[in-house]
Symmetry: C3
Subunit: 154 residues, 3 copies
């Protein structure tokens, strides 16, 4: 299963289009501009559309909802806690993710720690790749979901 | 296993009774009133009593401790990361939960991602139901814990 | 596997040496001094060195990166979501942790909820012990990692 999700960070002027917002920041930061250096300490809550191709304007087939925060002082790196939420004819249910995301690596794996509905008791790995990155406002992630456990409810 | 837990959000005037507090909010929000619309971006840390019936004043048999944040712009929806902590004659140990909680659904499932003590290596699902909701200050959740894995330490 | 990690909280004057920073706090708190009482509601993002002995100045063999927040009103207690990140000759990959950490207990267990690389599909327990604690700025944790599941990629 391969998906894309799209994140547009609130910058003080794009409320209508923004899909995420800084809600925590260190003392030297604020909630409309990423903290410097390396966004360290910024915590972002997101409500991002999921698409099956790399076009932000394609029909969304679900939402990626949760948080990430930047947790390295000397390079861009983050930690994610979020869910993929599906309610369409192919998939109903949610996948829960958590883990370290070293953004500067071309690909990186995070853990799938559980799921509900069609993804009952899911465990596995998601391989992330940054597919686009425009300044500090827009990025797009390519996500390859690999489930190694998933139970069927009888 | 069925439990209730009770959350009273700090609103600037109820410090003594409050069991939770907003600790992060988007630029348009603050830490005593939920952000509008749909509380999007508010992050709450909680220390809630667990009871076996729906009465806030019943003896507490444990604590539900952790965080939730609201992560949908157009409806009330949240994401939870928390633990049930027990230290009584029936149960000693903690259960760790994480996942998507679409509040407007009558029931919804989140993942049990681990446990300690009597709940060593637990995995499963908790089915949540909002049992009461009074403005933006008090809510009560009915929680049905369903463990599909749990190991015994020998 | 036994490790130490070292946390130096930003207090407004130690930016260069700090490995963590308060990024969320309740209305009665701030981002350079822990909130009173019991730090309740403070959320800290950290980027801490991991060492194999208890010396902060020993060569670091990895990073402990993530967050913790204080979630009990009447005592010091916290909740952790973080990763151990290794990229050395012994270990390559990450371990993801989540759970309740009752700091006042001599030892306490949190859940290992997943892993990547050498720790693919890891599950288990980490036993934490506070090895040193100096005011509200420095602490050192002794971590005993116990994996009960871990898959080998063929």
């Amino acid at each position: 299963m391969v998906f894309y999700f799209h994140d547009i960070v609130y910058n003080g002027e794009n409320y209508k289009n923004a899909t995420s917002a800084i809600v925590g920041a260190p003392e030297w930061g604020n909630r409309t501009i990423m903290s410097s250096p390396n966004n360290f300490g910024d915590l972002i809550v997101f409500d991002d559309p999921i698409t099956i191709d790399n076009n932000l304007h394609s029909p969304s087939i679900g939402r990626a909802q949760g948080m990430y925060f930047y947790d390295q002082k000397d390079i861009f790196s983050s930690w994610l806690g979020f869910s993929f939420v599906f309610n369409n004819s192919d998939y109903k249910g949610s996948l829960n993710f958590a883990g370290h995301d070293p953004l500067m690596n071309k690909t990186r794996d995070i853990s799938i720690i559980g799921g509900t509905g069609d993804f009952f008791m899911a465990r596995g790995i998601a391989t992330l790749r940054t597919d686009a990155f425009e300044g500090s406002v827009y990025f797009r992630l390519h996500v390859h979901v690999k489930l190694y456990e998933c139970w069927k409810l009888l």
